[in-house]
Amino acid sequence: MSSFSNTSRLLNCLVAFATKTPDFPCPLYDKGFQLETIEPVILLPDGHAAKPDIQFRRNENQLLFFECKDGACERDQLERYKQLSIDDLKRGRVTSLPGSSLNLFDLSYFGTKGKEDKLMYSVVNMGNPFPLVILDEHEVFWHASSGQFKDPLLTAIFGKIEFERPVPLSFIPFCASDDDDTIIICLLQHFMSRFEYSFTLDELLNDLFPQVVNYYSVKGKDEMKGRIGRILKTIMMHDEFSSALSYDNNTQRYTFRTMAPVAYRRKCQKFIEDCSKKAKETLYIRLEDFDET
């Protein structure tokens, strides 16, 4: 099961660039950029929201946003980003920077080498002004045919960043666009860390992703709960866990019965192998792969 999503890889790469680490370059950190928010929400005058993936701040006057995209980008999202202005950022209070001093922001798309052409087509060829930064196996580079950063420092930073080692992937173990496989692994790890664990879906969500739960909308939380509920059902229906994980309709509580680590590890392996086999049997066609027209 090697289902770690490219969106997570992109997001983790940006976090690493802004974090001093033992073995990966940190050009954003070196130039004074600080990670401020993951998945900020910025309300626009027309009532829609712009939702970039990550936001950095620098000095007292500058913000930098990235939209991580493993494939083509959607037209309405582009339109929202084109509308985004300094005034929206000041009005929306999306930053710890004092509104009066904020006077510069950049928004860039960040994509993978594998889907570079799709992203290029949907952003640049359609006449959109955004810079495009691409992650390859051992480098990150700004696509010279794409839009310019307003801040020339960013053009210099992203001109080319080379690295020998793989992108660190564990700053953010999970993001909303990850496959169920990634959530399954988070869940199995979490169950191992608890004894005779009894929980409701809300409690589980709070234990697993407290930072996300605190700011998700009611609708977002419900969607997440629905997704995790379906995954728990899959786990419960599997032979390896049918007697370990149970659900009580009356109390709406799940119970996970603790087992010895070696036995649990064996069951996890079998379960994951079976999930992988099933995934191979199913052909997933992602909408964004067809979003070129």
Binding site: T21, I38, L169, S170, P173, Q189, F195, P210, N214, Y264
Partner: protein, 363 residues
């Protein structure tokens, strides 16, 4: 505390002197005074769980000192737990070493004991346990990560062990390190030190599981000072890991963010068989005591969602060809990194280093 010290001092002065090279300890039947530095995630020794029936813990007049009665075929013997440092307790005893080792394993090395040994990696023994003068060292290496591949067997050192007691141990060790064919097996398992204070002198053997054996001496206070000095250095290492090398996520007014970084285990040789390496590391067994779900990200990177079976806290690892990134989470215990390092040095590669963000060697 005073009573305990008096008892140990009187025992020390009444002891028959033995040389460090004596085989009594090797056979497990010496009765030297020993002190273990135990890393605790429990509030008090009264909360010790799953103790064997032969052990009974009781409070002493000193609120941070606990007596443990050990019932043996010869009657009752005693072990003292000094919990004055709430994180790093001291277990003092003068029991036969083999018997004491088995008791300590029962108390500490069980899953979810919430206790752990202080893991003195080879590099820690060499650089941080250098109190007083050197009197010898022990080397022990056994490559547990070699599979059944015979080619690999010939290529790498499989086992190496050696005891040296005598003058100029540092020079002897430096001489051995010059031989590249055995460098990966030169893992210190213990060091001998002679420690002097105004109060007296002790000859200590300090071993990889944070155990001090008082071989000879005339001052229990000097022994306790030696232990305390090393405990402070070890505590400082663990504090550094937990302060500067944890990744935390938190809500903000505007969304959420992550802060913090990872530490890096840098190995001097590449992992030849990643599957076998991961399977040994995550076997849930001693000495690593790690549960983990590996995800092969590419041919040369495995992401592991792990659980430390001592505290049952979550953490993450990324295993590359010659490195391991360790991402401690908000509640992860820093001791898991010391345990991982100490055992990688003994069972994989003695030249393994723990690196921080400024290219500084943490271990």
């Amino acid at each position: 505390m005073k009573d305990m010290k008096e008892q140990l001092q009187s025992y020390l002065l009444g002891e028959v002197e033995e040389d460090e090279e004596s085989e009594e300890e090797e056979r497990g039947n010496d009765k030297k005074i020993k002190t273990y530095i135990i890393e605790s995630n429990l509030p008090t020794p009264e909360k010790l769980r799953g103790l064997p029936p032969s052990l009974t813990v009781s409070k002493s007049a000193d609120e941070s000192l606990y007596n443990v009665e050990v019932k043996t075929s010869r009657g009752s013997e005693y072990l003292f737990i000094d919990s004055s440092d709430s994180r790093f307790w001291l277990f003092h005893a003068a029991l036969e070493s083999g018997y004491l080792n088995s008791i300590m394993d029962e108390v500490v090395a069980r899953n979810d004991s919430k206790l752990d040994y202080s893991w003195f990696a080879s590099s820690f023994l060499e650089r941080q346990c250098n109190i007083g003068g050197g009197s010898g060292f022990g080397l022990r290496y056994k490559n547990s990560f070699i599979g059944r591949n015979k080619d690999l067997d010939q290529k790498y050192l499989r086992t190496f062990s050696m005891l040296f007691w005598g003058g100029r141990p540092d020079e002897v060790l430096a001489g051995l390190k010059k031989n590249p064919d055995i460098a990966s097996g030169l893992t210190l398992s213990r060091v001998g030190r002679v420690f002097r204070t105004d109060d007296g002198e002790t000859r200590e053997q300090i071993s990889r599981k944070g155990k001090f054996t008082l071989f000879r001496g005339d001052s229990i206070d000097t022994h306790i000072l030696a232990v305390d000095t090393i405990r402070n250095r070890y505590a400082s290492l663990i504090r550094n890991l937990e302060t500067n090398f944890r990744v935390r996520s938190s809500s903000t007014e505007w969304g959420y963010k992550v802060e913090g970084t990872y530490c890096l285990i840098q190995m001097s040789k590449e992992i030849e068989d990643m599957r076998h390496f991961v399977s040994v590391l995550l076997s849930c067994q001693q000495p690593f005591l790690l549960f983990g779900i590996p995800q092969a990200i590419s041919g040369s990177l495995v992401k592991v969602s792990a659980v430390d079976l001592h505290t049952y806290d979550k953490f993450d690892m990324e295993i590359g060809r010659d490195f391991i990134r360790v991402f401690l989470r908000e509640r992860s215990c820093g001791n898991v990194v010391a345990r991982l390092m100490t055992n990688l040095q003994e069972f994989y590669d003695s030249q393994t280093k723990l690196m921080g963000v400024d290219n500084e060697q943490l271990l």
